[in-house]
Symmetry: C2
Subunit: 98 residues, 2 copies
Amino acid sequence: MKNPIADLNKIFDSRIRLGVMSMLVVNDEISFNDLKQMLELTDGNLASHLNTLEQAEFIKVHKGFIGRKTSTTYSITALGKQAFKAHLDALEKMIRKL
Amino acid sequence: MKNPIADLNKIFDSRIRLGVMSMLVVNDEISFNDLKQMLELTDGNLASHLNTLEQAEFIKVHKGFIGRKTSTTYSITALGKQAFKAHLDALEKMIRKL
DNA sequence: AAAAGTGCTTTGTTTTTCAAAGTTAAATAG
DNA sequence: CTATTTAACTTTGAAAAACAAAGCACTTTT
């Protein structure tokens, strides 16, 4: 037997970062505000988790406009998709025994 | 759309507690030592996570003997099984979109 | 001009994690 | 029979992470 948790990615230990990634996997782009409302977070809390994901290069920011109003959106990167998938595979392997 | 992380159990945010539960789901009883070696943890760290799971009544302790040597083993409770399953269902629901 | 919204950053508190060392009791080695 | 080792903890303390609240720059709406 081998350590069942060794292949889990530490970045995805956080429910919030898991939630962000799971949303970005199915939506090409999501705004800061939508993430905030969906996950029911304060600005600061969300911003810092997004920062962590950005540092890891798992997500990308796009600063743009909707009309003339600023709008920041986020999208998943190829690396992020890969890391997220690897994490889910590790999770699945861990619990497949069920 | 609703908050995708609302149904995740906070207790299982920890990779270690996840690992313990996943091991106890497939093994009726596991010793402290086996858990420690499998998950590569220090005594104190493992003990405190086991404590958290015990407080939640997700696992049960059995103090017994192997010959005349003490041996502490842990097993999952019905409540623990249920909570773990609910967590996995929530996880699956969250990522099934993939 | 005032109020409100967007997307942050900063600050400080609370919570969580974890390692290290100490502890008790039994087992084994010398 | 004394010394060391092992099992399973508890306690202590430090480091890291999570989080809320407030502040801020800029813009839009009223």
